[in-house]
């Protein structure tokens, strides 16, 4: 696919309706557009169109006004009394109210800056950047406050949650500046987030979870203990999910240069089991602590990721 042509179509609005569904596009195509704000907006709007819900529907309960029904609106919000009186469909609109503070905790360690097929598959960090930008856009669009914390073995940057439209630009610029470096210490970063969030809120951890298992779990439990909602988005490169053929080689961790000589062919099935075991363990532990956990590979379109968020957001009310 010609990525540049697709990006141009999206930018000019000349793409077809489905083609504009950026939430369904390959993340690599979206990353190639470069403009993170544009991409995030298209992802979110495309995603919302796909939900057949009004992009203007709020989650608060203060009634504001009526507006004519347009296709895609949720029929649950049709005002049937108005229909009875006027024989026309009207949708009841509510005053949006910001009642959620969300932290996007993005893992920016060196292990995140890796792709099994550079050029065809985005690095985990690029994917995390797209996810974070889209979620930030969605949060702010809904009137929620969105903040950002980037970490590796330490806190690399922190932006406090705010609900203003202009705040989106701040977040996106911070995301664009992120690069992969250092080792990972998700436990320390999450602990700091917990300490800083005074009000009950939502923490979205975007990481490859190549972290210290015990300290990270302890930090997540601490967040839950502080009654924060937790959504863990576990990012994996497809080459990490299924070990491809590499023959006999010395595999090394880019974070600490630790090496292991192995034959990929002979370890494939056992590797798959090890990954499955890890996912199963994360899912189990998150369920136990009441956190939400979802693994994604970096070739997954952004729509499902946002859907996962919205499910969680809906439970928050």
């Amino acid at each position: 696919m010609d990525v540049n042509r697709r990006a141009r179509e999206i930018e000019l609005g000349t793409a077809s309706r489905d083609a504009r569904r950026a939430d369904r596009l390959d993340p690599a195509e979206l990353a190639a557009l470069g403009n993170l704000e544009l991409v995030a907006r298209n992802i979110v709007e495309g995603f919302l169109i796909g939900l057949h819900r009004s992009p203007h529907r709020g989650f608060s309960v203060e009634f504001a006004e009526h507006r004519p029904y347009v296709p895609g609106d949720d029929v649950r919000f049709v005002d049937w009394r108005m229909f009875a009186r006027s024989d026309r469909y009207y949708i009841k609109q509510y005053e949006e109210e910001t009642n959620l503070r969300a932290y996007l905790a993005v893992d920016a360690s060196r292990s995140m800056d890796w792709s099994s097929e550079p050029g065809r598959i985005v690095t985990k960090l690029e994917y995390a950047r797209l996810v974070a930008a889209s979620l930030a856009h969605l949060l702010l669009r809904q009137g929620d406050a969105a903040g950002l914390i980037a970490f590796d073995s330490r806190i690399r940057g922190r932006i406090e949650p705010r609900a203003t439209r202009r705040h989106l630009g701040t977040l996106l610029r911070a995301l664009e500046r992120l690069d992969g470096a250092g080792t990972t210490d998700a436990g320390g970063a999450l602990r700091e987030v917990a300490l800083r969030m005074r009000r009950r809120g939502l923490v979205i951890l975007i990481s490859d979870l190549l972290v210290d298992w015990k300290t990270s779990l302890l930090a997540l439990r601490f967040l839950r203990h502080r009654r924060h909602e937790v959504l863990v988005l576990h990012l994996m490169d497809p080459g990490e999910r299924d070990l491809p053929q590499a023959g006999d080689a010395v595999f090394f961790d880019p974070e600490d240069e630790e090496g292991l000589r192995a034959d990929s062919a002979s370890l494939r099935s056992r590797y798959r089991r090890a990954v499955d075991d890890a996912i199963r363990a994360w899912r189990l532990e998150c369920r136990r602590m009441g956190a939400d956990y979802q693994p994604f590979t970096t070739d997954t379109p952004l729509g499902p990721v946002l859907g996962r968020y919205l499910e969680r957001r809906a439970r928050l009310g």
Binding site: R110, S111, M112, D113, W114, S115, S116, E117, P118, T123, L125, E126, G180, D208, L210, M236, D237, P238, G239, E240, D242, L243, P244, Q245, A246, G247, D248, A249, V250, F251, F252, D253, P254, E255, E258, G259, L260, R261, A262, D263, S264, A265, S266, L267, R268, S269, R270, Y271, R272, R273, A274, V275, D277, A278
Partner: protein, 644 residues
């Protein structure tokens, strides 16, 4: 085991490749960035031992795979291959067609069975093979021909009732085979290996000549009329037949055998004899002429010797005139024979006279009848002896009588034609002296070895000359009981005028025919043109008719006695007699098919090695990509993982 493509065996060196890779892989320098190494470590920890084992097993499989492929490419030939796949071979097929091979088995004759074995050899012939077909009796039928010619040659081999020795045939076969290091040389002998046909040991065969013996098991019991001795009958009858009968092999309960005398297709006498033993028959009075006769026993293993044929010739009584004293003992003896009908005694000279008996007369020159035989008895008076000698010279008789006489009494040697002759005594005897070159023979000698009765041809007539006069003062013969039989032998046999029984020729031996003979009709009715001046060897037993213009004579041919004893030599002994250093023999068709064409290429083991290579490849494939990895391997290719 040999390799069809030895150079391909060098491909086995490729087996070093996986071995080297296995060793060199320990030193791999390829480094791949991979963040999720913790999962890899986990997988590696759980399977390190199994992986090491698998690696080594893979190495062994790959080495074995390459070795199997190299072996398949080299085309190893193992064991003995098919008979049809062999080095170019020169083969002499010696088919025994002697009488003993005519034995009938349940599924054909022994000869037919062995011929089939020979055809089996030819059916497996290759394009480069050459064949000679050499019957035991007869000349070569195929010489350095292809399989097709050899088949035709084998089919032309005729059954005979003759005998032959295999040893000389094998030597002849060796001479036929040209020495050629690039060709295998084989001599196949199809025979019953009868002991009587392998009496002489042969010198060892040359190196690289394989002798293969084909034997078809057969019964060795047989009954035979080995010989027949016949006393020829005279014009007045008489004559005896003594047949020697024998049984060979173990035949419990058969101690005697019944024999029949057949004359002109009619059984004229039956006798029972112990075996071995003699069956004696008296010949009946027969009309003048040739008579077909045979002694037969019931059919046994070999049919040819169950009947031994012979020919009896009976003549008219000869016409004899006696010239000499009318009261001589000779005259009286002749009168006795004439009275018995054995001769006709004439008192006057006639043209049809057969024999003149001239006793002591000096009138020898007076009018001898043309063609009549002469019996010359010297005069008793010494003074007439010179005149007697003059007459001998005048008629071309190359003997003279010397006046000196033997001293004392001398005996006469015995003769089968005259019973009791040995009792006679000679007291006066002239010495017989040769004059000039002669073709004659001494029929009787005195006990001191001096000739007493000689015969020969002179001036176109046969003569018999006695060295003593027939008076009691010279010899006791005139007053002995042997006198009449002596005169009968003198006139009927020694003159050649009496009946006779020509000897029965063994089949396969050369006989002399009459010089003007032009054809022979065999017992089976087949008429063969012959040249009477050339040797002729009849191969079929029975009575053969020899034609010479309008004249027909009978020729009796019997089975050679040597063929009657069917006892066989075992393989080792037969091979030893034929000069073979080791025995290669077969008794069944399967064994024969296995031993022929000694230098075969062997069976190719390549299919087995290819199958092994295939199995090794499959095993290697499964081992190299175990379980779920195979599908994953198809889905993904690796990721030279790299940071941005």
């Amino acid at each position: 085991m040999t390799l069809l493509h030895p150079w391909a065996a060098s491909l086995a060196l490729l087996a070093i490749v996986p071995l080297a890779l296995h060793l060199l892989r320990r030193e791999t320098r390829r480094r791949v960035a991979f963040p999720a190494i913790r999962y890899l470590q986990s997988a590696h920890r759980s399977s390190a031992r199994a992986l090491r084992l698998r690696d080594r097993l893979l190495m062994v499989l790959r080495v074995a795979l390459l070795l199997a492929l190299a072996a398949a490419a080299a085309v190893p030939l193992v064991g003995r291959g098919d008979a049809a796949d062999h080095r170019p071979t020169d083969v002499v097929l010696i088919l025994d067609n002697t009488a003993s091979m005519n034995r009938v088995l349940t599924d054909g004759s022994l000869l037919a069975r062995q011929r089939e074995r020979g055809l089996a050899v030819l059916r497996n012939a290759g394009p480069g093979d050459r064949f000679w077909v050499l019957p035991a009796v007869g000349g070569p039928l195929t010489t350095a021909g292809g399989a097709g010619e050899a088949i035709a040659g084998l089919l032309r081999v005729e059954a005979t009732d003759a005998t032959a020795s295999l040893g000389p045939r094998v030597r002849e076969a060796v001479r036929m085979l040209p020495p050629d290091p690039d060709r295998t040389r084989e001599i196949h002998v199809f025979s019953d290996f009868q002991a009587t046909g392998l009496t002489d040991s042969q010198p060892p065969l040359p190196d690289h000549v394989h002798l293969l013996l084909s034997r078809v098991p057969a019964e060795e019991t047989n009954g035979a009329v080995l010989r027949v001795a016949v006393t020829p009958p005279g014009p007045a009858g008489g004559g005896d037949v003594a047949a020697e009968l024998a049984l060979f092999g173990e035949q419990p309960g058969r101690d005697t055998v019944q024999a029949r005398l057949v004359l002109d297709d009619e059984t004229v006498a039956i006798a029972r004899s112990e075996t071995p033993g003699l069956a004696v028959f008296r010949l009946p009075v027969l009309a003048a002429g040739e008579h077909r006769a045979a002694v037969e026993i019931p059919p046994s293993g070999l049919r040819a010797d169950d009947r031994r044929p012979f020919v009896v010739r009976v003549v008219e009584p000869p016409r004899v005139r006696h010239e000499g004293p009318s009261d001589s003992y000779v005259r009286r003896g002749l009168a006795t024979l004439a009275a018995a009908g054995s001769l006709i005694l004439w008192s006057e000279e006639r043209e049809e006279l057969d024999v003149w008996v001239i006793e002591g007369t000096d009138e020898l020159a007076a009018g001898l009848a043309g063609g009549a035989g002469l019996v010359l008895i010297p005069p008793a008076e010494e003074v007439l002896l010179a005149r007697f000698n003059v007459n001998l010279e005048r008629h071309g008789i190359p003997w003279r009588l010397a006046a000196e006489v033997a001293s004392g009494e001398l005996g006469l040697e015995s003769s089968p034609d005259v019973v009791g002759l040995e009792r006679a005594r000679v007291t006066r005897r002239h010495r017989l002296v040769r004059h000039g070159v002669m073709v004659d023979s001494v029929l009787l000698r005195t006990s001191d070895g001096a000739p007493w009765l000689v015969s020969g041809e002179a001036s176109g007539r046969r003569y018999l000359l006695v060295a003593s006069s027939f008076d009691p003062a010279s010899t006791s013969l005139p007053v002995d009981a042997a006198m009449v039989p002596f005169l009968e032998a003198l006139l009927l046999r020694w003159t050649g005028l009496g009946g006779n029984v020509p000897p029965t020729s063994p089949a396969g031996t050369t006989v002399l025919l009459d010089a003007d003979a032009d054809s022979v009709r065999a017992p089976d009715g087949l008429v063969v043109p012959v040249d009477g001046r050339a040797p002729y060897a009849p191969r079929e037993t029975g009575i053969h008719r020899v034609f010479a213009g309008d004249r027909v004579t009978l020729l009796a041919v019997g089975a050679p006695a040597a063929e009657s004893d069917l006892a066989e030599l075992d393989d080792a002994s037969a091979a030893d007699r034929l000069g073979a250093p080791a025995t290669v023999a077969a008794s069944t068709n399967e064994e024969w098919a296995d031993v022929i064409y000694r230098e075969r290429r062997g069976r190719s083991a390549s299919p087995h090695f290819l199958l092994a290579a295939l199995l090794l490849a499959v095993a290697e494939m499964f081992l190299a990509t175990p379980g779920a990895d195979r599908s994953a391997a198809r889905r993904a290719s690796f990721p030279e993982g790299a940071g941005r």
